[in-house]
Symmetry: C2
Subunit: 302 residues, 2 copies
């Protein structure tokens, strides 16, 4: 089935203790779309300036990503972000943010997108997310991401959004901020009460937990020795998860668990190289073999 | 098969935001032995004063725990610890430690214990742990715990211990301290190079990771809503793990993974009430039904 993804497209400048890149392709929408493209056809909604190179467009197109919803602002500049990682990737500092064309991004869905069945609203102001939602006819499953900034500054709007979506993907710190409890199991259950029927709490190197009201499913991260760049890990996770759901066309409990596992696996690949490199260089076979390995690690025989 | 457990026996005074107990039965050896007793026959080595009540002895005996190695010091006082939990159980402060009889504990194994096949050396000075090891004839599998204090103050002795044991159970913070790396996968692999063929890193509410040289197995914690008292969770984990290994009499990879899972499950029970209460009140059925649930949570179908 079709998966609609709305989010940011960026030039990222990233520094780690080992290496650095300048103005590499990034942004929540790009990571999420590339990850999802292993599983399903993706419809992308985003905005760039006229400095966005043809090669990036071609890369996305080569992954069967529909770019009818890509808006290019003539004379505008693409969103830029730069950050640095410390302490073996456990701490990140944002060095600069230039919103540029993203500042006035008012997503307009092409008509061909309006029948999208699966929708992922990457992190953005909740009003922007809701305006996208209003443009989709009759979605089957809508998942959104959010962040501490919106929870703090647009609390009422975040609560309104939560009532309109089927699932939320949220970091552990943000879940704690939103619910004012430090127990993550409690936090997940409280967010369920705020509206969505599926809550997924991301825990970085510790994996993720999914809350469905019937059960709490904790899954660990796929263990990787060499984290080269965690940028985009959360968005790749969301992309793998939504991609797998869209492929299966089903959101019952076992499908959701499988989608959670696919999200974890594809995000582990993402961390193994800078920016989107590993997502681009990996084959479907790479992903499938890691997924099999992951299932096997969690399989406890009688 | 027989499981030998050496460690502390204590009166614990515990305060949490919700409740408090005074001088309740505790200590690493007690938690570990009670958890292991669900799986196997336990031989306990520990020391108490003559203030240690008959009812505690009877409780341990009722769980088929062999107390031939329990030393009672006439006129001595049992080890006492008190601590308080804050921030929904995520932070602990030790309020007081009275070593009492534990200060000069020099464990002597009864002859009947010398043929023990599985040995768990709970946290103690590495020399004490090694002296116990010297008294066991020909153990099949020896696992030890340690702590930051010994890693800092008796570093050489800890390294010597690591060369003599088959497995180590260590907290994430301690693994980082010991190896000076912040990536836990890297840390586990470095500890393998220090001697033991099995390394288990405990991550509290995030579960545990096992390193066998061939693979890294990450397992999540069993999700619990209401953590009432995390005291003894790590020792219960070790007890469940060693108990299951001793029951199966085997330490190959799949048995180890099952043992890891049993450790996680029994430690989740431990946290659901104060001190040893839940370990004592739980039945084998309680444990088995939670274990089945845990396996099911991690089972990802095709």
């Amino acid at each position: 089935m079709s998966l609609l993804i709305v989010g940011s497209i960026a030039f990222d400048s990233i520094k780690t203790p080992h290496d650095a890149v300048e103005e590499a392709l990034g942004g929540s929408c790009v990571y999420c779309a590339l990850a999802a493209s292993f599983f399903t056809d993706v419809r992308l909604v985003g905005i760039v300036g006229d400095d966005f190179p043809r090669e990036h467009v071609e890369l996305l197109e080569s992954r069967r990503i529909d770019l009818s919803g890509l808006e290019t602002v003539e004379g505008g500049k693409t969103f830029r972000w730069s950050g640095e990682y410390f302490d073996n990737m456990n701490r990140r500092e944002t060095l600069s943010v230039d919103l540029n064309v993203l500042e006035h991004f008012d997503p307009k869905l092409p008509d061909s997108y309006r029948d999208s069945e699966f929708v992922f609203l990457a992190n953005a102001a909740p009003q922007t997310q809701m305006s996208v939602l209003d443009q989709v006819k009759n979605p089957r499953f809508v998942m959104a991401d959010t962040m501490d900034l919106w929870i703090k500054t647009q609390h009422a709007e975040v609560l309104e959004l939560l009532k309109k979506i089927d699932g939320i993907i949220i970091n552990d710190d943000e879940a704690i901020l939103l619910t004012e409890t430090r127990n993550l199991v409690e936090a997940g259950n409280r967010i369920l009460e705020m509206g969505p029927s599926r809550v997924i709490i991301k825990k970085g190197e510790h994996g993720a937990m999914m809350f469905t009201g019937e059960e709490v499913v904790p899954l660990p991260a796929f263990p990787i020795h060499d984290v080269r760049d965690p940028t985009g890990a959360g968005d790749s996770f969301a992309g793998g998860l939504m991609g797998e759901l869209s492929r299966s066309g089903d959101v019952e409990a076992m499908r959701l668990k499988r989608a959670l596992a696919q999200g974890i696996v594809v995000s582990s690949l993402c961390c193994e190289d800078f920016g989107v490199r590993r997502l681009v260089s990996s084959s479907v076979d790479d992903l499938e073999s890691r997924y099999r390995k992951y299932r096997e690690l969690l399989q406890i025989d009688d």
